[in-house]
Symmetry: C2
Subunit: 111 residues, 2 copies
């Protein structure tokens, strides 16, 4: 998908991951695989882990270490109350942006 989506993901990827965690608890490897599956083909492995560390440090998620049948133990993340608030705020910001862009797009088609 190239460089353009990379820049656009800055600020949105965090919201995407929090939205995933709002549905169910998940661990890094799982989230990365899910994103790949949804078409975010060029999200690097390390990116999600770094993001999870950030949101953990900011206290938006709770973490639980769960042993895996295959491979090292998983760090399972779940959204806490603060994270839920942050996600709400994210959706508000996203809506603001999406509305204005949609308006710009339709205006552009007219001219």
């Amino acid at each position: 998908m190239g460089k353009q989506v990379t820049e656009m993901l800055k600020g949105t990827l965090e919201g995407i991951v929090l939205a995933i965690l709002a549905g169910r608890a998940a661990y890094g490897y799982e989230i990365t695989a899910w994103l790949r599956d949804k078409g975010f083909t060029d999200i690097a492995e390390g990116t999600v882990y770094a993001l999870l560390v950030r949101v953990e440090q900011r206290g938006l998620v709770d973490v639980e270490k769960v042993p895996s049948e295959k491979g090292p133990p998983r760090k399972v993340y779940s959204l806490n109350t603060q994270g839920r608030d942050h996600l709400d705020e994210f959706w508000r910001t996203w809506s603001f942006l999406a509305e204005r862009l949609e308006q710009l797009r339709t205006e552009g088609k007219q001219s």
Copy 2:
């Protein structure tokens, strides 16, 4: 609007400005004022100018210096063919992202 929109604008602000220029030619001060008017209250002056320099260097816009009745001459930017292609690409990337986010949002509401 705070820090969240700042990060989200990375990658999209360029598209927004190109979309504006697709409608009509404009200069930096004008674009900044327009954005402020549309609710992007915390976009700094310098930000738009820096962005315009970038897109000019990448050859997406044509520039014409126009004397102003009040103040120093304006640099009027207009979208060229390459810029139009880039804008199309931007809309494709944006759609990709917007679709997936919209899906995530509605899924989240179900659970």
